[in-house]
């Protein structure tokens, strides 16, 4: 479970995020939406331990972000908005490269299976020759090598075709529901959010936020 309590972030007296609290349970897919500059990426960066909040507490399975940053990072799979890949490497080389640097040892068959599950089958193809959708899938696959429990995705489907978007969505759904992963997902595509997420956290420039129930039967939490 991820628990965020009264989280706030300011830069030079400018409030970016103010007093946000929410809880995410295992198997939840949460959409994070808001207009540009609303603080979505800042919130995602704080949850990824890349930025420190000005105020508030975050706990992942009772581990505080303040005291166990290193241990928490092992539980996080962060998918950056820009492709974080070696373009000149093949899919295989990229997977092996990041596996070597990862906390978890996985053999080549497991790495390949991870790609196959995501319908990324061009194992020997260099990344620069892949389509945008394939690159996005690889970007996601690399973040899953160390089998994280919390997956943070910063616009993972931006600029890709509908087929790839659907395949990524289906895979994330399987991850959450079958493997009980927690997924936080930012996107500008409300249709995609509506189809995939259990509920949505909306944050705005005027430092309001609200959680909107989509389909899981949970109550609307707050405004």
């Amino acid at each position: 479970m991820l628990k965020v309590e009264s989280l706030a972030k300011s830069y030079r007296n400018k409030v970016i995020i103010d007093d946000i609290s929410f809880t995410i349970n295992k198997g939840d897919i949460v959409g994070l939406v808001g207009e540009n500059g609303a603080g979505k990426s800042t919130l995602l960066s704080i949850l990824a331990t890349l930025k420190k909040p000005t105020k508030g507490n975050i706990f992942l399975e009772d581990k505080s972000f303040d005291h166990s940053k290193k241990a928490i990072r092992r539980e996080i799979g962060y998918v950056p908005q820009d492709l974080a890949l070696w373009e000149e490497f093949t899919v295989e080389e990229n997977m092996i490269f990041f596996e070597q640097l990862s906390w978890v040892n996985r053999n080549k068959d497991e790495l390949r299976q991870l790609c196959v599950d995501m319908k990324l089958e061009k194992w020997k193809e260099p990344v620069h020759s892949l389509s945008g959708g394939m690159k996005r899938k690889l970007n996601l696959a690399i973040s899953l090598i160390h089998q994280p429990n919390l997956l943070l995705l910063d616009e993972p489907t931006v600029g890709i075709d509908l087929k790839s978007k659907t395949e990524i969505g289906n895979y994330l759904h399987t991850l959450a529901k079958k493997q009980q992963k927690m997924i936080i997902y930012t996107s500008h595509d409300m249709e995609e959010i509506r189809q995939l997420c259990d509920y949505v956290i909306v944050i705005g420039k005027d430092t309001f936020y609200k959680e909107i129930l989509l389909k899981s039967g949970k109550p609307v939490l707050s405004f």
Binding site: A48, T49, L50, K69, K70, R73, I76, G77, Y78, P80, D82, L83, A84, L85, W86, E87, E88, F89, E93, I96, F97, F98, Q100, L101, S102, W103, I142, S143, H146
Partner: protein, 366 residues
């Protein structure tokens, strides 16, 4: 650490030719330059014809002494050939060691025992003739001294041959003018093998360039798109860099050892423990220095340009190619290696800077 080395191997697999090129450049360039300059040196020797008209020991010794001179290329010719070739400028000049040379030397006669031919284009005639005259004077002087010794020494009856032989032996042992620098327990180099440029000096210059060129990985990694993933790997950013520096250093050291063996084989450079230790120290200095230098850059092309400028500066101040005043030795990064010193100021400076870099800001990704 092994994992980081494996990731580096994936990078190397992608660019084997460029890696190999920069690794072996110092060896290839040094061999090419040394062979090229040797060939030029050989071509620039003064062609001189020698006519040997008598077969005595003294005449033969003079002939061999002229032949051993590193600046003269001797052609054995007849007097007729000598005249013709000097006239057609195929020979700079020619010298005839006349019949009766030994007898004249023994008699102490120094008049017309050598005949020379020159043309209006015999530019090197004066130095060559002076060289030969000095050799003849050595013989006549020694002979005169021998007769003086025979006349003075009443206790032991020396023969002329004994005195000359003893004088030659003493000259061989104590001849300061022709003593060449050599390492302990190594064979003395013949003067004919003296090279225009120090092989290790040339190698060191190209090693600076190749180390700079291969350190570009630091900038490529620093500005790479994969940087956002670093907080989520099991190594800190700096440890990852250090881990990448290890395989490069090991690879360089292997190539350096190959250079030692090849230069020994092809350029007759002596292998000593001092050379090996100073080379190890030089390599560590280069690796740390180029790493820290590359880390200061974000623009790859600007780095390449400055690397070439830096190498040119090293060429200028090192004194390897152009002789330089020793006051530059303080900032010359090759100085310690060329003088085969193990500890250098640069090595200590870069070690301290690297430790400071490692300690500073280490917590950022921890």
């Amino acid at each position: 650490m092994i994992s980081i080395i494996r990731t580096r191997l994936i990078h190397w697999k992608k660019q084997p030719f460029s890696l190999l090129f920069w690794l072996i450049l110092p060896i290839l360039a040094t061999l090419a330059i040394q062979y090229f300059t040797s060939a030029i040196q050989e071509d620039s020797k003064v062609p001189v014809g020698i006519v040997l008209e008598e077969d005595t020991e003294l005449a033969m010794n003079l002939y061999l002494a002229i032949k051993e001179n590193p600046l003269i290329r001797v052609y054995d010719v007849t007097e007729e050939e000598a005249r013709r070739k000097v006239l057609s400028h195929k020979l700079d000049s020619a010298f005839v060691i006349e019949e009766g040379y030994e007898e004249n030397v023994k008699k102490g006669s120094r008049n017309q025992i050598i005949t020379s031919y020159k043309s209006d284009l015999s530019f090197a005639y004066t130095p060559v003739s002076q060289t030969i005259i000095s050799l003849v004077q050595e013989d006549t002087g020694r002979s005169k001294a021998a007769y003086t010794v025979i006349n003075l020494d009443n206790e032991r009856s020396w023969t002329w041959e004994e005195i000359i032989q003893t004088a030659n032996e003493i000259q061989k042992e104590e001849n300061l003018l022709h003593t060449t620098f050599s390492y302990a327990s190594s064979e003395e180099k013949k003067e004919n093998q003296i090279r225009l440029w120090n092989s290790w000096g040339v190698w060191a210059i190209f090693s600076v360039l190749s180390a700079l060129m291969l350190a570009d990985w630091v900038i490529k990694e620093k500005r790479s798109s994969i940087k956002p993933r670093f907080p989520f790997i099991r190594f800190t950013y700096k440890w990852y860099y250090m881990g990448n520096l290890v395989p490069y250093t090991v690879l360089f050291l292997l190539i350096d050892l190959t250079a030692v063996m090849l230069f020994n084989l092809l350029l007759s450079e002596t292998i000593t423990s001092k050379l090996l230790l100073s080379m190890l120290s030089f390599r560590m200095m280069l690796q740390m220095g180029t790493f820290l230098f590359a880390y200061c850059f974000r623009n790859l092309y600007f780095y390449y340009i400055l690397s070439f400028v830096l190498t040119l500066f090293v060429i200028l101040i090192s004194g390897v190619i152009i002789p330089m005043n020793s006051s530059w030795d303080v900032i010359n990064p090759l100085n310690a290696f060329i003088n085969q010193e193990v500890i250098s100021g640069y090595l200590m400076l870069f070690t301290v800077l690297l430790i400071i870099w490692l300690m500073k800001g280490e917590k950022r990704n921890a």
